[in-house]
């Protein structure tokens, strides 16, 4: 009987011939990602760090991204503690505020590689499945224990197979597909399982795959992975990683799955997730005309150059509708630089957009773009829970960058296909 990707990758990492779903393995992950929460993590083990030090300075990757630049003395002090920790233990992979959202940085720096097992103290760590890695989120305590000992247990998950066929129509994007999938399988639909994407993935860029893998956790997947192909190899080469530096793995043809699903990408239409759950799916058509106070373009889900580009094409030479605010937070410094070099940012700013530094921005409601009671935001983020953007009496809808841009133009939910030429 063939094996799934999850079985193969976890067996290899654990040094076992083969494993079966449900089996518990002990392994040492290739990397541990932490972000602003590093301060709280090391705070749990300060005495232990004095005594034992950290297990391996190559294991942690730290990116300051959640509340940057610091908003108050407390967050500034946390950042300072993290910088001191980095220096003290010689952690090479540290990215200070301004580099970008941690997950984007991990992928674009070539720190998450095909066939690796990575964990991070952030639920969207699953994003690295876009380059064929098995990546999953853990809590802060687990991250603290890993810093000290480097070892953890993982239960080998069952896997779900999603076969993607065909190609999107114009105006339809990876975000529309993943919102539809989550709407179908539900927010708990992939709980404790790994989701594998098969089929015509060559029609999806690494950015598209990122958007999809990123939202794996919104159906509670443990991991969400794509196979490695020429597009991946080329992307990693651009990031400075040679083909010989990693060993990809993929599922056998006769692997056994918990369930199999098929999606025809040509049939997907622009969609939204309605408040206050990511699986509360509707098509843009069904909700057309709903008014929005704020439109947010950014996050690890959809803040890359290609996302900003799509929005700029829609907004170029136009003005954001009076009464609607447009906020832009690029996913990383690198993506922002690209968007600066070809007029993408200029088009967005000239249309009236507010540009924030590369980072999480308004996504988690800690600062920047917090909403007032009764307000409604259309966001390219991955989560629309009640209170997520800092106010429990506000509403968040999720959509693709094209839908967000088209909506910013009219102040009401607009199908991007109507404004694209």
């Amino acid at each position: 009987m063939g094996e799934t990707f999850a079985q193969k990758v976890l067996a290899r990492k654990a040094g076992l011939e083969s494993v079966v779903p449900g089996q518990i393995v002990t392994l040492r992950p290739d990397h541990l990602l932490t972000h602003d929460n590093t301060a709280a993590i090391i705070g749990k083990i300060s005495g232990d760090l004095d005594r034992y030090g950290i297990v391996d300075p190559e294991m942690p990757i730290i990116v300051l991204d959640h509340v940057i630049p610091a908003v108050d003395e407390k967050t500034a002090t946390n950042h300072k503690k993290v910088r001191e920790f980095v220096k003290r233990f010689g952690i090479r992979n540290f990215f200070d505020a301004g580099a970008g959202v941690c997950h984007q940085v991990m992928v674009e720096e070539g720190l998450a590689l095909p066939g690796q097992v990575l964990v991070g103290s952030d639920s969207h760590t699953c994003s690295y499945g876009c380059v064929g890695a098995f990546a999953t989120g853990i809590d802060r305590t687990e991250a603290a224990a890993l810093m000290l000992r480097g070892e953890m247990w993982l239960k080998v998950p069952h896997s779900m197979k999603m076969t993607l066929k065909g190609k999107f129509q114009k105006g339809v994007y990876a975000k529309d597909l993943i919102l539809k999938i989550i709407g179908d399988v539900s927010a708990a639909g992939a709980a404790y399982r790994s989701v594998e994407f098969h089929g015509d993935v060559r029609n999806l860029s690494i950015g598209d795959r990122f958007t999809i893998a990123n939202m794996g956790v919104e159906m509670d997947a443990k991991a969400a992975v794509f196979p490695v192909d020429d597009i991946t190899v080329e992307y990693l080469e651009d990031a400075g990683v040679n083909r010989g530096d990693y060993e990809p793995l993929w599922a056998d043809k006769d692997a056994l799955y918990h369930s199999e699903h098929v999606y025809d990408m040509s049939q997907v239409v622009p969609g939204v997730a309605r408040p206050h759950a990511v699986d509360n799916y509707a098509t843009v058509e069904e909700m057309k005309g709903l008014s929005f106070d704020q439109c947010f373009l950014g996050t690890c889900t959809n803040g890359r150059y290609e996302d900003l580009r799509v929005a700029a094409e829609i907004l170029k030479g136009e003005n954001v509708c009076p009464g609607t605010r447009l906020i832009i937070a690029p996913a990383s410094n690198r993506e922002l630089s690209m968007a600066l070099s070809d007029g993408t940012v200029q088009a967005l700013v000239e249309a009236g957009g507010m540009l924030l530094p590369p980072g999480c921005g308004p996504c988690l409601g800690a600062h920047q773009g917090v909403m007032a009671p009764g307000e409604r935001t259309l966001s390219t983020a991955n989560r629309n829970f009640k209170g997520r953007m800092g106010c429990k009496d506000a509403e968040i809808y999720l959509a693709s960058p094209a839908t967000v841009a088209a909506t910013a133009l009219y102040g009401e939910l607009t199908d991007p296909r109507e404004v694209m030429d």
Binding site: D36, G43, K74, S121, S123, R149, A191, G387, R388
Partner: protein
């Protein structure tokens, strides 16, 4: 002992709003905001030994562990649920907070019913009617029994 009932897909923002994640990390800082956007009466009313009875996918969303730390700190005896989100489940083990996955028991429960459970035996009883639930594997019980993951890690490091 009070049983607090909540429905399906109670997410981490309802359990502990994201806006506090980088300013509150100790039990005392977390406590006043526990379940703030879900049930404003919880933080003031919860007592040592209380139980939560919840639906599917409890704790979905963020990887923040403040909900687990907070629930443990206020003395919640156990959370009995239809199912738990993965990261939340793991975080609970790491803090020694007891989760019982028993969907039938949750369906059978009515307000005021007597709830008893036997962790070692993997049995929960609702008004005398028994339901079984999966017990944790040995490797994981070791972590819980050590008092949580950090204690377990210290034990292992000390043995080196």
């Amino acid at each position: 002992m009070k049983v607090w009932r909540y429905g399906d897909s109670v997410n981490t923002d309802m359990l502990f709003p994201g806006k506090y994640t980088y300013t509150c990390s100790t039990a005392d800082e977390i406590r006043p905001h526990l379940l703030e956007d879900l049930d404003a009466s919880f933080a003031a009313g919860v007592k040592e030994g209380d139980i939560l009875m919840v639906g599917d996918n409890f704790g979905c969303g963020s990887s923040r562990e403040q909900p687990v730390l907070g629930l443990k700190a206020v003395g919640v005896q156990a959370i009995i649920g239809k199912s738990f989100a993965r990261i939340f489940y793991r975080a609970a083990i790491n803090q020694g907070l007891i989760l019982i996955e028993a969907p039938e028991a949750v369906d059978a429960y009515n307000e005021g019913d007597e709830v008893k459970f036997d962790l070692e035996g993997g049995v929960i009883s609702i008004n005398g009617k028994e339901f079984s639930f999966p017990r944790l594997p040995r490797q994981i019980l070791e972590i819980r029994d050590a008092g949580g993951l950090l204690e377990y890690t210290r034990k292992k490091l000390g043995q080196k």
